[in-house]
């Protein structure tokens, strides 16, 4: 298959799967089969599309409206790998919810359909070369994921859904202003309505763009897409939304969706670094929001009782860490930031999925009522341990690699104060999370154990996540590193 066809299928397959699921009769077996099969095929096609851009090439589709370059490749890999594993996990999770009577078969079907539409909108935003379509894609991710989050019909879910759509829509409105201004600045130089909206041609003409306009554009884009990415102080919707949805939805949002919004920020980041404005302006802004996110998250993680809310604040922290990589800048900083997207996505997807299992075991989200997991279900205790250890940056696991690279790159660039603050923030979270970890895994059970056994097919995707986290921590996968390096080259001037 040539690259254009491949890219076309990458975009269309999730939508087609959603359509097929929509017309599938309400039979759990059938729905599960189509759901997993569709997700698998989508992921394989997406990965084979990515394999073409590892070397640094870019491919265009539909008169350059869509394209795939190494930056898009990095994020498409996230969607493909993690999306599939979460979808696989959701099969068992939805069966539990169905058995417990929290939801009906209608809602399972709705969840499956929406999860594929959601993947479609994310892929749409990642491979859009047109910056307005990229915006539309990101806005569409909110709309498509809303009823995945507000799946349960109760007060809390409704409240979180309302917060989600209102705060994200307002935030993204600012991003639309960034898009409009960017187009205006681009049109002054490029003089063509079609080309002035293309990221690739804006990059080519970056040196000619008005630097003052770019400042405003980046600030608006950072506020706008930063809201969606969960950067502080625009993160207020995130803990509510991530904690109220079903665990697979939380995993999707945290592991993949936040990264898509970050990808949009990275697109603007690279236009600015290529312009005459240089990189210092964007780096300063990124460091500020990054440190703010890390410290705000640290405060809230300390006093958190709810296991899913804790992980939600963890997302704020890690999005901050990715932003910190870009704030440190330089080839190493940007590389580390990109590496961290995958490291965090794997760890956080595992964290949310395993917390789904743990909630099933204890029948509560309150960590004060858990305890003794290591005796109750050792496998899930180990998986939980892997997720937590990776999230707080224990060596030999994925997150450590990127955090180490960021610190190294910051020190070599003489950014001592930023690095010191960064390390302090991470240290607070390290201690806070270990405390919570102890509470859940060791000691005696403080609440009650509803069930000890978790079926194998709920554990298998999680084991794969854990293996990948360790692999990413100790093994240098040449293709992945080449892809990251080529993406870094494009981002930096």
């Amino acid at each position: 298959m040539d690259m254009q066809t491949l890219l076309f299928f990458t975009l269309c397959l999730p939508f087609a799967t959603a359509a097929i699921l929509w017309f599938t009769p309400k039979n759990l077996g059938l729905l599960n089969t189509f759901h997993v099969l569709g997700s698998l095929i989508t992921s394989l096609v997406a990965l084979s599309a990515v394999s073409h851009v590892i070397g640094g090439e870019s491919f265009y589709l539909f008169n350059k409206l869509f394209f795939l370059d190494p930056i898009g490749g990095v994020f498409l890999t996230l969607i493909a790998v993690i999306g599939f594993l979460i979808n696989l996990y959701s099969v068992k999770y939805m069966q539990w919810e169905l058995e417990s009577g929290h939801i009906t078969i209608n809602e399972v079907k709705l969840f499956y359909v929406l999860s594929h539409i959601f993947v479609f909108t994310m892929i749409f935003s990642i491979i859009s070369n047109n910056i307005a379509l990229m915006w539309a894609g990101i806005e569409a991710t909110t709309l498509s994921s809303l009823f995945m989050v507000a799946l349960y019909k109760n007060k809390r879910a409704t409240e979180s859904g309302w917060k989600y759509i209102i705060i994200c829509s307002v935030g993204l409105a600012f991003a639309l202003y960034a898009t409009v201004l960017m187009y205006g600045a681009g049109f002054n130089v490029i003089k063509d309505g079609h080309d002035a909206m293309l990221w690739s041609s804006l990059m080519e003409n970056a040196k000619l763009l008005n630097p003052d306009a770019l400042k405003l554009v980046f600030i608006f884009a950072l506020i706008g897409f930063g809201t969606k990415a969960g950067l502080a102080p625009m993160h207020t919707w995130l803990p509510d939304v991530h904690s109220e949805g079903p665990s697979p939805a939380s995993a999707f949002l945290s592991a993949v969706l936040l990264k898509c919004a970050l990808a949009a920020i990275i697109r603007y980041y690279s236009i600015v670094t290529h312009s005459t404005l240089g990189s210092s302006f964007v780096e300063t802004l990124m460091v500020i929001v990054a440190l703010l996110s890390i410290f705000i998250a640290a405060l809230f993680i300390l006093k958190q009782r709810d296991i899913k809310r804790m992980f939600a604040y963890h997302s704020v922290e890690h999005v901050g860490i990715i932003a910190f990589g870009f704030g440190i800048g330089g080839p190493l900083g940007v590389f580390a930031g990109l590496f961290h997207t995958m490291a965090h996505s794997l760890s956080k997807a595992l964290a949310f999925c395993v917390s789904g299992n743990i909630i099933k075991i204890y029948g509560t989200r309150d960590m004060g009522k858990m305890g003794g997991l290591i005796r109750v279900n050792p496998l899930n205790a180990v998986l939980f341990g892997t997720a937590v250890a990776s999230l707080i940056g224990i060596p030999l696991l994925a997150v450590f690699v990127s955090e180490f690279l960021m610190i190294k790159s910051g020190l070599s660039a003489d950014k001592y104060i930023q690095i010191a603050l960064f390390i302090i923030g991470l240290a607070i979270i390290f201690i806070a999370v270990l405390m919570h970890f102890n509470e859940v895994v060791f000691g005696k059970v403080r609440g009650e154990v509803k069930t000890e056994k978790i079926e194998a097919n709920a554990n298998i995707p999680l084991i794969v996540f854990a293996v990948l986290i360790v692999a990413l921590g100790i093994y240098v996968c040449p293709q992945w590193f080449e892809l990251l390096q080529n993406a870094t080259k494009i981002i930096l001037a």
């Binding site: 409206l65 307002v170 008005n210």
Partner: protein, 217 residues
């Protein structure tokens, strides 16, 4: 220097109707005010399309008419009928003060931002640009100050209209798929918000968002 054009008058009328959408206590009347405002927006598109001889804007006008004068109000009126609510709860700072706060800050913001927009806008129309930012930020203030769910949906529609006007002035020559993409999002957003609004009414027994305070910390 009495060359106030019809476009200017229509956009000023848009600010006035937006304020009505924001301020009217009766929800149905708010929707009617929104319809008027959007009709004015369609008028502005048509006038601009004639004045500058741009074909695209008349297409924009047609699309805006179908989506925003017909579909969106239809959804909202149906929602109001189904829920059988008449008027909204007292907003933050009361019915009298809240529109004044909103308008004051919105105009101030518009004065600051619109010169920058004008610099990069394709059609350098001062008053429409000011109006677009004012309407946008009236919508944002609507979301902050008004507590009624339907009023918040209307506030969303307001800021969407503000953005739409900015888009028409500064990006009308972009590919059509852009306008279609953005409007599709807007319509789906309204549909989804109406579904949520119904659920909200069901679980909270009212449309007052300040009752939804279960998620904290």
């Amino acid at each position: 220097m009495m060359n106030i054009s019809l476009v200017d008058i229509l956009t000023i009328a848009m600010i006035a109707t937006s304020l009505a959408v924001f301020g009217l206590r009766n929800l149905k009347w708010s929707v009617y005010a929104y319809i008027t405002e959007t009709l004015l927006l369609v008028g502005v598109f048509l006038l601009l399309s004639q004045k500058y001889n741009v074909e695209q804007l008349s297409e924009w006008a047609l699309i805006a008419f179908i989506t925003k004068v017909v579909i969106v109000p239809y959804i909202l009126i149906k929602l109001i009928k189904r829920l059988n609510v008449r008027s909204e709860e007292t907003p933050l700072y009361g019915f009298f003060i809240s529109p004044i706060i909103a308008l004051g800050f919105s105009l101030a913001l518009a004065m600051i931002i619109s010169p920058v927009l004008k610099e990069f806008s394709l059609l350098k129309e001062t008053i429409p640009l000011i109006a677009s930012v004012t309407i946008f930020s009236l919508g944002i203030f609507g979301l902050i100050l008004r507590k009624n769910v339907i009023k918040q949906i209307l506030a969303y529609c307001l800021f969407e209209n503000g953005i739409h006007l900015t888009l028409a002035l500064s990006t009308y020559n972009s590919p059509e798929i852009v306008d279609i993409g953005i409007l599709t999002d807007a319509i789906f957003a309204v549909i989804i918000m109406s579904i949520l609004a119904e659920r909200f009414y069901k679980y909270f027994g009212a449309l007052d968002v300040s009752k939804a305070n279960h998620l904290k910390g």
